[in-house]
Structure formats: structure tokens, C-alpha cells
Symmetry: C2
Subunit: 351 residues, 2 copies
DNA sequence: CTGAAAGCGCTAACAA
DNA sequence: TTGTTAGCGCTTTCAG
């Protein structure tokens, strides 16, 4: 293993000079700089991460805490994790992967041992036991999602209230008077996960404002559950013509169920989803949808941390306005032939 | 931040004694041990990870390199990553997440800077440019999947050759004489990913041995692709009665397509999948399948690394025998009413 | 069974 | 513009 002393000797300078050339923290004559850089390359020198961290009090590692529970849509999480890693690398940081089942103790462990410099915590619940711990930790953190009390924290999320409302508005604009929200599995609501709850709030509020009927129901991930739920909805609300889905895994089965039940999309039933764009585009017909901006959230989270690590402030709560794209799955009520324009995208600024 | 010196002072012993109490590397009188442990708890002491790593030459961190490319089934990867993290924690290690797009250089970076002690590399291709780098690295690694030349490496994988063969055998045993392998998107074959290739080999070999017709085709992830592929298959091979699917995202659409085309499962068409158990069980009808043992592979990978870190040897190539479970999607050829037993599980020992 | 002390490889004052 | 030096907090010889 080649050390900074080796490089210094090879270049005929002091070790600190090598250090400064590498960090750029003080000006170096271009002559010595080049000599040092040549030695670095010649010897294949890589600074030892532990020594650097010990001396500088910075590990350049961020913790990423991912949920391992049921009801989360996995591909979205992966997208998110990938964005976190990629963005972290752009700022010369690495990412330590933690699973949520280590609990608050896990956060303390990596933080208090200085394994990491900062934390990204996903899937935050309204009353999350990790939040008080994060508040006490001697390092910055950012939450994806936000708890009931976000005072003093940095939280980033899609504005699910606005997203739910946006879906209602779209359907109401098309003349639909009765619509349902097909939500996540009930376990997700029960553990008070913010995003599911908030979509529901936005959905209900907007339905009230628009004077349309809006019913809500959770839905499990099995085909049987989808079939049962839809049948019940149609039975209880025979005039239902609009469906909002926030539950990616059931989208395929749902389209299938509607087909089985003889409901054409969008002629007999308009569908709007809250899901990743590629999922919406993969369906037949393609789904009008509010996108889940996993990559943007991941990148934003890391950037907030980098900001905070540099001593600056980051906003307390960042809610991304929903981006809606009309596709083939939604059309006018009472008009079996017309669909909305393809690919028209709007950004809701109510956030 | 409380240091080992603080603990030593508090307990009235030397710092080295505290260290030895914590590591158990030399015998300590139960009296001092307890005194030290009390102090540790009283002060809330956590050893500094960088200092420990610098002094001991061990970071207790494993690198996990995940693919970020198309064609990989994301939930399986997550399962795998989760198993790696969970198992690593059991051996008191953490996991650093790297994306494959950092390439061989990324491996060198984390290894040569001593950021990690060992590496797990997923999605290895037959001729993977990371393999020569791994061979040179001064630390152990394990590959998930295996390259053409696995000499001197440690590789773990499902035995996909046996898995492909197992599916053929199952269908042939049921009397099917003409079957097709619906594989991964063609991009996966083109980049010479081992698992896709090997399943195909096993499928073809077994078909030859059993004297049945076996055709193979890749299939993209869109509904249209599934429809087109199945229609073409049925047109070119009107006597086709068995389908082997190695492509999780298309399973839902495939069942839908078969329904549309009026082929009942399993009466008119028997289906066998190579996929995670929960996916197989979620379908209607439930799918006979060879499971993808993501968790076992993840756990095995970490355990191999821990073994190697302790100086012991690990086997060069570990191929897990396929576990087959018969469910409702496969039945006898020419027998519209009978299906195989539910849940009968067999383990193929040919590996 | 325990303590003292020498590093591990780097950064960042402090000096020049 | 560069060099000298004192740590960072721990592990592990070496001594006793």
C-alpha cells in the first residue's frame, strides 16, 4: 500500500504538500503541483479513507436508510437509491446502505461512530420513532416524506395532497361526477405512512370542492383483492366513471379486471394513476398519471445534505408540485369516443 | 464525542484495557471487565470507526455493487441487497452501495482506499471487465453469477442450466411434446449475461434429451411485445402446449394475453416460471415455478466473504440446485381437467 | 492480568 | 509558497 509519505519522497516534497495538492486547500506553485501529481500517478497512490476520515473528521459517506416493508413499491425505491448513490458520487461521497429494521439504534450506531457524515431516511411515518433520534444526532439528515411535526428537520417529498387533488381535478374537468381512489394496502395506512394519508386528504378535499362523489378504498396486492375491490366499488357505486390508482403493483391486474368486467378504458371508465412514468407508459392504454419523481427527490436529498455539511441552511420542507401527464386512459364522461390530448403535461403550482 | 480515553479514565484503567474488553482479544478479570462495561454504558461510548479502521486495517465494511441496467428484475435485486445488508450486520459489518456504472475503476477506488474490506459484485457477465480487476485487488470478493473463466474467483449462483432443464422435465413428464422458452429481453442476451444464456442451454439440452420440441425467444417488457411474441409462437408452432418463462415483469401480461387468445391455463397451455415465489403465488392461477433464491444467495455471498476475511478458503463455484414447486399453472397434456399436485416441492441434485 | 507507548496514514495548524 | 509537527482515536506489540 503506497502512502502519502511515499508520494512525498518520490516528488521530493513534504507530505503536507502532497495533501494540499490533493485537497486544493492552499495555493501551490504549478511546478510542485505537477511534480506531485506525476508522482501520485506514477505510484498509483490512493489516500487511505480511514486515515483521512480520522484526521479530517469527515468520512465522506452518507447513510441511506431504506424500508424493507410490505406495501412499498420496490422499483421506485431502487430508482431512488440509485439517484442517491449517483448524486452522492458527484459530490465525492459514498453511500452506506442501512435497512430500516435496525431502527433508531442503527442511526445512532453509524452516526455516533462517525461512520457517516449525514443521513437520508426514507419512508418516514407521521409519528416516526426515528425522528427524535435524528433531532439529537450531531449531524445533518434529510427525510423523504415528513412526519406530523417537521420542525427543525429537512424533509423532501412529492406533494401528495396536491397530487390527489390534481387527479380529481383532471377527472372532474372531463365531466366525471363519481370517482374512487384505489389506494395502497391497508397496512400502509395503518402504520400512518404520510404519503398514502395525504393523497387521500387531497383526493377528498378536491372532491368536496368540485362537488363530485369521491370514495376511497385500500387495496392489497393480489389479483383476487383487486377483483373483489373493483366489484364492490361498482356494486356500491354503479355510476362510477373515474378511478384514481395509487398502488403500482395492482395496475396490471386492475386493467385486466376492468376488461373482464366489460368496462372499456377510457370509454366506460377513466383511469388516472400516481406512479412512475415508465409504468404508466407500459400499459395498454397508456395511463394518464402524476409521476413519482424518485430521481429528483433522491438528487435533492443528497444536495440538501451536501449544503448542510458545508454549514449552510437547507429548507425545512420541500414539496415537489405534482407533474400530470394526460395519456390514453382518461376521457370525457358521457362521451365514449374522445380522449384527452396525448402527452400534455401540466405542473400544479398549488404546493 | 466520548473517546476510549474518557472511558479508561472513568473506569480507572488503561485505554488498552478498554480496547481489550471490547474486542475480547485477551482475558480480563471479570472485575475490571464489568467496571469497564459499566463505564462504556454510563458514558454512551461508541468506538470511532475511522480510528478503529486505521489502527486495525479493517473497516468492517463490505462493498455491494448493484447493476442499474435494463432487463434486471428489480424486486429480486432488492431482496438480494436486503439479504446482503442483513447478513453483513449479523457479522458486524456494514454495506457500502456502489452502482455498476462506476465500472472497474469504482472497485479499485473503494478497495485501494481501504474504504471496504471485501466486495460483492452482482450481475456478472460472461466476459466481465471487472473480473481481471477483482483478481488483482488485495482483498476478497465474491461474484453473483459467474464469468466464462471463474478460475481463482468465488462465484455463487442459481444453477440456471439445471433450472432450465428442470422446467423442461416437468413439462415433458406431464406429456408435453412442444414447448417454448420465453426469455429475457434480447439486450440481456446480447450483453452476454450468464444467467439468461445458461437457462437457454439447459432448456435446449433437456429438450433434446427428452426428445421434445423446444423453441426459444427473447421478449421485451411491453404488453405489445408479449402479445406479438406469443402470437408468433402460436402461429409458428400450433401444437405448442408448454411455456417456460424467465422474465418476471411479463408474467402478468402473459397471463392476460393467453386469456385474450382464448388459451386456458393450464387446460390449453401449461406454464412454468423461473421467478421469485411470491410472484408465482400472486398469479391466477398460481404458477408452477423454479424459485430464485435471492436471499440465500445474498446470505451465502456475505458468509463466503466473512470466511475469506478470516483467512480461510471459500469454494470457487457454488451453484444452488433449483427448487421446483408445482402449482396450478401446469397440467397434463391432452387432459383438460387434471393439474399436478399443489405445493409438491423437489430439489434437483444434478448441479 | 494489566499498563505504557508506538504507530496506523492523514490533515491542518503553526512556522518560516 | 513550502516544511515541520502535533494530533485524530484506536489497536497491538512489548514490558511487567
Amino acid at each position: 500500500m503506497v502512502t502519502i509519505a511515499d508520494v512525498a519522497r518520490h516528488a521530493g516534497v513534504a507530505a503536507s504538500t502532497v495533501s494540499y495538492v490533493l485537497s486544493g486547500k492552499r495555493s501551490i506553485s504549478s511546478d510542485t503541483r505537477e511534480r506531485v501529481q506525476r508522482s501520485v500517478r506514477a505510484l498509483g497512490y490512493r489516500p487511505n479513507a480511514s486515515a483521512r476520515a480520522l484526521a479530517s473528521q469527515r468520512s465522506n459517506v452518507l447513510a441511506l436508510v431504506i424500508p424493507l416493508r410490505t406495501g412499498m413499491h420496490v422499483p421506485v425505491m431502487m430508482q431512488f437509491a440509485a439517484a442517491v448513490v449517483t448524486t452522492a458520487r458527484r459530490y465525492d461521497h459514498d453511500v452506506l446502505l442501512l435497512t430500516a429494521d435496525e431502527g433508531p439504534e442503527g442511526l445512532q450506531r453509524v452516526a455516533q461512530s462517525s461512520l457517516v457524515d449525514a443521513l437520508v431516511v426514507m419512508d418516514v411515518e407521521l409519528d416516526d420513532e426515528r425522528v427524535p433520534v435524528l433531532r439529537e444526532l450531531p449531524m445533518p439528515s434529510v427525510l423523504i416524506g415528513y412526519p406530523a411535526d417537521s420542525e427543525g428537520l429537512t424533509c423532501i417529498d412529492l406533494d401528495f395532497v396536491a397530487a390527489g387533488a390534481r387527479c380529481v381535478d383532471h377527472l372532474a374537468d372531463l365531466g366525471h361526477r363519481s370517482m374512487a381512489l384505489l389506494g395502497t394496502p391497508s397496512a400502509v395506512y395503518e402504520r400512518q405512512t404520510g404519503f398514502a394519508q395525504r393523497t387521500l386528504t387531497g383526493f377528498a378535499e378536491a372532491a368536496g370542492q368540485r362537488g363530485v362523489v369521491g370514495v376511497e378504498t385500500p387495496c392489497e396486492h393480489t389479483f383476487a383483492a383487486v377483483l373483489g375491490t373493483v366489484e364492490r366499488l361498482l356494486h356500491d357505486h354503479p355510476d362510477l366513471t373515474g378511478l384514481v390508482v395509487q398502488n403500482e403493483p395492482i395496475i396490471g391486474p386492475l386493467l385486466d379486471v376492468l376488461r373482464r368486467l366489460g368496462r372499456r378504458v377510457p370509454e366506460d371508465m377513466s383511469l388516472v394513476a400516481i406512479c412512475a412514468d415508465d409504468v404508466a407508459e407500459r400499459q395498454v392504454p397508456q395511463l394518464s398519471s402524476v409521476t413519482i419523481p424518485a430521481e429528483r427527490i433522491g438528487a435533492l436529498a443528497v444536495e440538501s445534505l451536501i449544503t448542510k455539511l458545508s454549514g449552510a441552511e437547507a429548507p425545512e420542507l420541500t414539496l415537489l408540485p405534482p407533474e400530470f401527464t394526460a395519456r390514453g386512459s382518461s376521457g370525457r364522461a358521457d362521451d365514449s369516443d374522445t380522449t384527452t390530448g396525448q402527452g400534455e403535461r401540466t405542473v400544479d403550482r398549488r404546493a
